[in-house]
Amino acid sequence: MTSTILRALSPWLLLALLFALAPQAFPSASALTMMSVMGVMIIFALSYNILLGQTGLLSFGHAVYYGLGGFVTIHAMNAIIHAKLNLPAPFLPLIGGLAGLAFGALFGLVSTKRAGIVFSMISLGLGELVSSSSFILRSFFGGEEGITTNRTKLAPFFGHKFGPQIEVYYLVAVWCFVCIVAMYALTRTPFGRMCNAVRDNPERAEFIGYSPRMLRFISFCFAAFFAGVAGGLAVLNFEIMNAQQLGAQQSSLVLVMAYVGGAGFFFGPIIGAVIMTFLQITLSDLTSAWQLYFGLLFIAVVLYAPGGVAGWLMLHAEAARRGELWRLAPAYALIAPAFAAGLIGAVMIVELAHHLFDQALDEGSAMRLFGVDVDAASMAPWLVALLLLGAGIGLGRLLWPRVGDAWGVVAARLNRAAAA
């Protein structure tokens, strides 16, 4: 009995441990900032998945609730500071959540009547309306500059004033952990299951006693609440809120996070939020063509891993659990060099082209590529790149059937094991 409880709890303990120890591994202030942002984004992406993954609602305007939650939080925060109330920082995200909930209830009322394209388009329209009105309602949204605040002016919490990033990190981590658990629990309730049913077949759900509209509405409210919490946390982290945070870009970012991570799995959006945040912040340091890579990566996921990263992981986890993973190893080992060659070739081509077209005018065509000095206008690097890419694609095509066969064997064994 205790062992089963322990088994059920172990992923959570592990997660908590991970949250607790991460700063030991990455102690720099910018790493802490990044991890704090990841925490915020994890909540945000999971809240989005209540809509997309659980209830089948594709929203183009989820950032509205994140942003409005943030704005209400920051105003409340400034008012609290002004009135010298004794409400310390850790409680503020709750205000964001409640604000998100309130706006979610308001807008949900008009948008959850239907699902599908109608819902998506209403969310798009509402998103545009809210973000456009941010320029009109200047006193609330603070115009272009937004609203700033200072978290250290809040009442201290057991002596902590949350000046140093590490304290903010732990605050985010605790909230993030709690929200993950809460949202996970939500998927395991009758309500969560009925959301799945409504996603699959809203009409039939209506004939077994549930109002699809009501279910969509409630799930919309939950999503807005957690998005608001994320917005509130973002305020504590950045100490600024502006209209960009509720715009289309933020809305599509969260969609991308949920999808790339894998909307079909509870933990998918967590992975998506971590990966996308990391890439967003660091990729631009490595290459100025980062948006191109971003787009290519994204398309690759859509084309080749429709279940997202989580889907891919689950496939292997299943094999690993049954001890079948090693059967894939030879095939993977064979194809890995081809994959690497193709990847390097592709990156070279992008970088060469980028340099040649974008920067050669004023900097000349000489550049450094993978630590080697090359001339982007000369033949040699292009030849190498094309060769690598060609070899990668050619070998990949040649060898891919082996991976397929290996998977066939594994799948057959897994099926047999499942049947038994």
Partner: protein
């Protein structure tokens, strides 16, 4: 006997086309009632009207004496009426077990509850499992409903309908697509689960109709031309001409 379901002068038109044209019918509580009639006569439409999928143009529908015309399907379902569909209508991505459990949830009182763990609901599990047993799908417990064979899906359709334990059960061509054996099993199942309940069904398989029904209504062009016991219906010339043809013999 009190009427479980009573329809008074019901009309339904789509645009200019009248489909149901002044239909009145009483189904007594505990009765097994079959509705037969030519293709396109309006049988499924009638089901849609009663179950709330369509709104009547005029007329009155009462369930256990209460007016339900114009209510939403879930409101009608909560008042104790469940129906199946002629075209299979289940939750394709959920497993067989999940389909049945979901269908049972509301009637067991687990409404929009987001504080209980679904795995902890013994009653829902027990109901889903016993149903799965009865419709013969236990072996396919975790298969997504969408990959079941046609006949299996038809069985699940019935399962989802009866899972909520409603008093009035309406089945639209429950045995279509089943072979003789399966049909026999389905008839036995229907007989068993509607024990003490009211059943209204549409069916073209005369074996099933004559085997199950206490009374039969014949719907032709949106009107009931006869409503009687199976034996009398079989003898009815008008019915034979409009519907039965050779099969009546």
């Amino acid at each position: 006997m009190s009427a479980a379901l009573s329809l008074v002068d019901l009309h339904k038109s789509f645009g200019l086309t009248q489909i149901i044209r002044g239909l009145s019918l009483e189904v007594a509580a505990g009765e097994r009632h079959a509705i037969i009639g030519p293709n396109g006569a309006g049988k499924s439409t009638l089901f849609h009207l009663i179950s709330g999928r369509l709104k009547p143009t005029s007329g009155e529908i009462r369930l256990n004496g209460e007016r339900i015309g114009g209510l939403r399907p879930y409101e009608i379902n909560r008042r104790g009426l469940a129906r199946s569909f002629q075209v299979t209508n289940i939750f394709p991505k959920l497993s067989v077990y999940e389909n049945l459990r979901c269908a049972a949830l509301w009637s067991l009182g687990h409404k929009y509850s987001f504080w209980t763990r679904i795995e902890g609901l013994r009653d829902a599990r027990a109901r889903a499992e016993s149903l799965m047993e009865r419709i013969g799908l236990t072996a396919r417990r975790d298969a997504p409903a969408g990959v079941l064979s046609y006949a299996e899906q038809r069985a699940l359709e019935i399962g989802v309908t009866i899972a909520g334990d409603a008093d009035v059960i309406m089945l639209d061509e429950p045995t279509a697509g089943m072979n003789n054996t399966e049909t026999e099993q389905a008839v036995a199942l229907i007989r068993k689960v509607t024990e003490g309940k009211t059943l209204v069904m549409v069916e073209h398989d005369m074996g099933v109709v004559f085997g199950l029904a206490d009374r039969i209504s014949v719907l032709v062009y949106g009107q009931i031309i006869a409503c009687d016991t199976p034996a009398r219906i079989r003898e009815n010339d008008a019915v034979r001409e409009a519907y039965l043809g050779q099969a009546g013999h």
